[in-house]
């Protein structure tokens, strides 16, 4: 198994606070649960992974290269490999659901809109929210919004996907449905790394579809 992503004593300085040191290796095919005692750690880590300016200590490497030594090309490579599903990065309210789903690929690759539209629609169909494709996000339920954010991440076909507290405030049926879809997506590629964060270990243990090979409490 190849190590794709590695943190060694990673401490993120975020909004005047520091996260506890995190040492972890992510290998191809891993499904990792990160149990955060505070929401703040989730926010700090996800901003850090998206290169939204955050100061950090320790090491973070992707394919053996330190984040600090990243060139613009490395950053682009990382951005093509990584996506997140998190309410901290919501849908864009003045774009329709389908526009939100295809926007990152449409922007990144300058592909004709018709082509990305078809792909985005098929992803919405897979998740069962295709009827809402033409709606603005404000008209979606909380769960549908989560699914639409998931669809946006799926569109990017990332090798590493980060789910930030996605199961909070969902009832059992919806948790099972969502975790099933996450597991399906994980299994589409043998080298995909899935990182799921939560405030509660019990919440993740209840999910039958997902088998975690690493559970880290922070």
């Amino acid at each position: 198994m190849a190590v794709k992503l590695k943190f060694y004593k990673l401490i993120i300085n975020f909004e005047g606070e520091k996260t506890p040191p995190l040492s972890l290796m992510f290998e191809d095919g891993d499904t990792v649960a990160l149990i955060f005692s505070r929401d703040f750690y989730n926010k700090a880590l996800i901003d850090f992974l998206h290169f939204i300016p955050t100061d950090y200590e320790g090491e973070a490497t992707f394919l053996g290269k330190d984040f600090k030594a990243f060139t613009n090309e490395d950053k682009e490579k990382w951005q093509k490999s990584f996506a997140s599903v998190c309410f901290l990065y919501p849908l864009i309210n003045n774009l329709k659901v389908i526009e939100n789903v295809y926007l990152p690929v449409f922007y990144r690759d300058n592909i004709k809109e018709d082509l990305v539209f078809d792909k985005a629609y098929s992803i919405l169909e897979e998740l069962g929210i295709e009827k809402k494709f033409n709606q603005l996000p404000a008209f979606l339920s909380n769960f549908e919004r989560k699914l639409a954010i998931f669809a946006r991440a799926k569109m990017l076909e990332p090798a590493i996907i980060y789910y930030g507290n996605v199961f909070s405030e969902l009832d059992e049926d919806k948790k099972d449905y969502f975790s099933g879809k996450i597991a399906e997506f994980h299994n589409e590629r043998t080298d995909r790394i899935t990182i799921i964060t939560s405030r509660s270990e019990n919440e993740l243990n209840e999910l039958e579809a997902l088998k975690f090979n690493k559970i880290i409490n922070i």
């Binding site: 996800i46 901003d47 998206h50 939204i52 682009e76 951005q79 997140s84 901290l88 990065y89 919501p90 849908l91 864009i92 309210n93 003045n94 926007l103 990152p104 449409f106 922007y107 990144r108 300058n110 592909i111 004709k112 809109e113 946006r152």
Partner: protein, 262 residues
């Protein structure tokens, strides 16, 4: 003490201009860094914004053009006719409508209509985390949000001001014909005889300058909003007042420059 006071005075007088110029430099820099990445997505935003600020504002500007044409001509025609005849009416109409009134009136309407909308929209995006969301998707917010608004607003303002000027000249000629019995041929002869390259240059310069300044100010204030929704009306008010100030200031500067050039 005096140095501190002078610095304070300088900051108050030129701080705003410095911030705006710096922001414009950032917008241009982001465009140079990113283009042609995201070209199709940015173009789509330009079209959308042209629709919101141009097409949807068209009816109002045409109505304003009609009213301005009638008001200015009826107010001035009666006594000017006695002084210098049709030729002077053409000249006054040219200066009053094409050079001054129409560009300023349309700019004011656009500030009230689209400027506040831009500030509020961007402020809400910032508060909701949508700007951060764009960053997380590898989309540069200044390039994706601000640049298209600048382009679209400039195109829209230029076009609707041109239409409003055209409409006001037509209605002005009708008004003169109906109330002062000035023939269309005499009126248009007088108008075109008095029109020079300076008028067209000034008209274009004003529209381009206003078209860049207004959305720049509104985007700047919109993106300055930090976390609270209560900042939105405050910033919207600030952006409107700043827009008025800079538009009138630019109007004076451009008039003055063309006067020197002439």
């Amino acid at each position: 003490m005096i140095k501190a006071f002078l610095e304070y005075l300088f900051e108050k007088l030129f701080g705003g201009i410095y911030n705006l110029i710096s922001f414009l430099v950032i917008v241009i820099d982001e465009f140079i860094k990113n283009f042609p990445k995201g070209y199709l997505a940015v173009r789509k935003i330009v079209y959308k914004q042209i629709y919101f600020s141009g097409v949807e504002a068209l009816r109002l500007t045409v109505q304003l053009g009609i009213l301005l044409g009638i008001v200015i001509v009826t107010q001035m025609a009666a006594f000017i006719k006695g002084l210098g005849g049709v030729n002077l009416i053409g000249k006054i109409l040219l200066v009053a409508i094409i050079r001054e009134a129409i560009p300023l009136f349309i700019a004011v309407i656009m500030i009230a209509r689209s400027g506040t909308a831009i500030t509020s929209e961007l402020g809400l995006m910032k508060i909701n985390g949508e700007v951060l969301s764009l960053k997380s998707l590898g989309i540069e917010p200044v390039y994706y949000i601000v640049f298209p608004r600048l382009v679209a607003f400039t195109i829209s303002l230029f076009t609707i001001t041109l239409i409003a000027a055209f409409v006001s000249v037509i209605t002005g000629s009708f008004t003169l014909f109906l109330f002062e019995k000035v023939s269309f041929a005499d009126f248009y002869d007088a108008l075109f005889l008095n029109m020079s390259i300076f008028d067209l240059v000034l008209f274009s310069l004003k529209n381009i300058a206003f078209g860049i300044t207004i959305p720049l100010i509104c985007c700047f204030y919109g993106l300055s909003i930090k976390k609270s929704a209560t900042e939105i009306p405050q910033m919207a008010t600030k952006s409107v007042l700043s827009c008025f100030l800079y538009v009138f200031l630019l109007n004076v500067i451009l008039d003055f420059l063309v006067l020197i050039w002439q």
